[in-house]
């Protein structure tokens, strides 16, 4: 009994390592075959519509609500120390440094990532990818690479929109609703948020997240067993794996970027 479980564990680990190797080769193949995605940019634009534009609603609405909650909660806490005027700083820094890139990435993973996985998985299951191969069109160049670059390009824009909406939400709640001084809100924010340190780092984070999420989504779809359960399992795995990847990468990047302040 115990021996069986150990054997299974060993097996699973080997499978896992093999899978990571396969995934890496797949990722490198995607990068190598990206020429078509740029030469025929129309393909990438089309995918930007499906990944980016269709994610706008959830990103904008979530951003607004997150900002509003930050405004509320932030005010409650800051009030205890008599520092309500720092609300702008609190909202802006939280969003630009962390919440913007991370939450936007998590939302992108669940909406666009799962859609990509399902689409590619179904194309594989209905032999569309095979048919494309037989018609001498490389599916990685034609189907996978444009989706990859579309995701990588869309992600920073989505994160910026999330942060912007969030700050607006914080402004709505803090200044309009609660009555924090408008001038203090914006001026304190401006003096505390640095372009290179905070905003640029946030953009870098969102690009890295975009790469991770899209690569995982594409791989899971491409590797999915060509059955109904296979595709649905792959979709779930995409959301889980890419969310965990985003959080782990966030820690690593934050440690790198914000350690340098002191």
């Amino acid at each position: 009994m115990l021996r069986q479980s150990i054997e299974n564990l060993g097996n699973r680990t080997i499978q896992g390592v093999w899978r990571i190797g396969f995934a890496t080769r797949f990722f490198l193949a995607t990068l190598l075959h990206s020429g078509t995605a740029f030469r025929r940019f129309g393909l990438t634009i089309r995918e930007m519509y499906f990944s980016g534009v269709l994610s706008l609603i959830i990103i904008l609405v979530s951003g607004l609500f997150v900002g509003m909650v930050l405004g509320l909660q932030g005010y409650e806490t800051l009030q205890t120390y008599g520092s309500e005027e720092a609300l702008g700083i609190l909202v802006a820094l939280s969003l630009v440094r962390e919440l913007g890139p991370v939450v936007a990435a998590l939302l992108f993973a669940s909406r666009a990532g799962s859609a990509i996985t399902a689409e590619i998985g179904l194309m594989k299951a209905t032999e569309q990818l095979s048919a494309m191969e037989m018609m001498a069109v490389d599916p990685i160049a034609r189907v996978v690479a444009p989706r990859f670059w579309a995701g990588v390009i869309s992600m920073p824009f989505l994160a910026a929109l999330f942060s912007a909406m969030g700050i607006f939400g914080g402004y709505l709640v803090g200044v309009q609703l609660i009555g924090v001084d408008e001038g203090a809100f914006w001026s304190q924010m401006q003096s505390a948020v640095d372009f290179e340190q905070d905003i640029l780092n946030g953009v870098i984070k969102s690009v890295v997240f975009g790469i991770a999420i899209t690569a995982i989504a594409l791989f899971e779809g491409y590797d999915a067993p060509p059955t109904a359960e296979g595709v649905s399992g792959a979709t779930t795995r995409t959301v889980v794996t890419s969310s965990l990847a985003v959080l782990a990468l966030d820690f690593v990047l934050t440690a790198f970027m914000f350690r340098g302040i002191s």
Binding site: W186, S191, E196
Partner: protein, 155 residues
């Protein structure tokens, strides 16, 4: 999906994204106007820099005129050598003094410049000779206790 409609939406999306980035960069953050092309560097030495960090503001009369660059330790004079990057638009006399101040009671530390009266101005790679170190809380408390002890001693 009609190709032109699709392109339109993606175009709008990209424009909105860039607008958001610009909003963040300009209205929310402060674009450091002080980068290498329009700044000059001067060095100031301090006995104690306290909690001063690189990129801290350099202010004169309360207005930000530059940023702190590197902070290094001079092993020969046992002092801290702080590089100040000042905006080219502002010229300071050679006898300007630099002091490490705290914004608010427990806030971030910055360098405050007080202009002197010299006719010659500071140029790139010059040194500020008049400096005032940071007030270290422990020293202050120590002085206070010592002072109080002195008061109470002659009984």
């Amino acid at each position: 999906m009609n190709k032109t409609v699709l392109d339109l939406w993606v175009g709008l999306f990209v424009i909105a994204g860039i607008a958001a980035l610009l909003f963040l960069a300009l209205k929310v953050g402060s674009m450091s106007a002080v980068n290498t092309s329009n700044s000059y560097e001067v060095v100031a030495r301090f006995d104690n820099i306290g909690g001063l960090k690189p990129r801290a503001p350099v202010k004169s009369a309360g207005v930000v005129v530059g940023r702190v660059g590197d902070i290094r330790f001079d092993n020969e004079t046992y002092e801290a050598a702080v590089t100040l990057r000042l905006d080219k638009r502002y010229a300071f006399p050679k006898d300007t003094s630099a002091a490490i101040m705290t914004s608010g009671l427990l806030g971030e530390q910055y360098i405050g410049l007080e202009a002197g009266g010299d006719s010659q101005i500071l140029k790139d790679k010059d040194r500020i000779s008049l400096t005032q170190s940071a007030v270290v809380l422990e020293t202050l408390i120590g002085q206070f206790i010592y002072g109080k002890a002195q008061e109470g001693a002659p009984q």
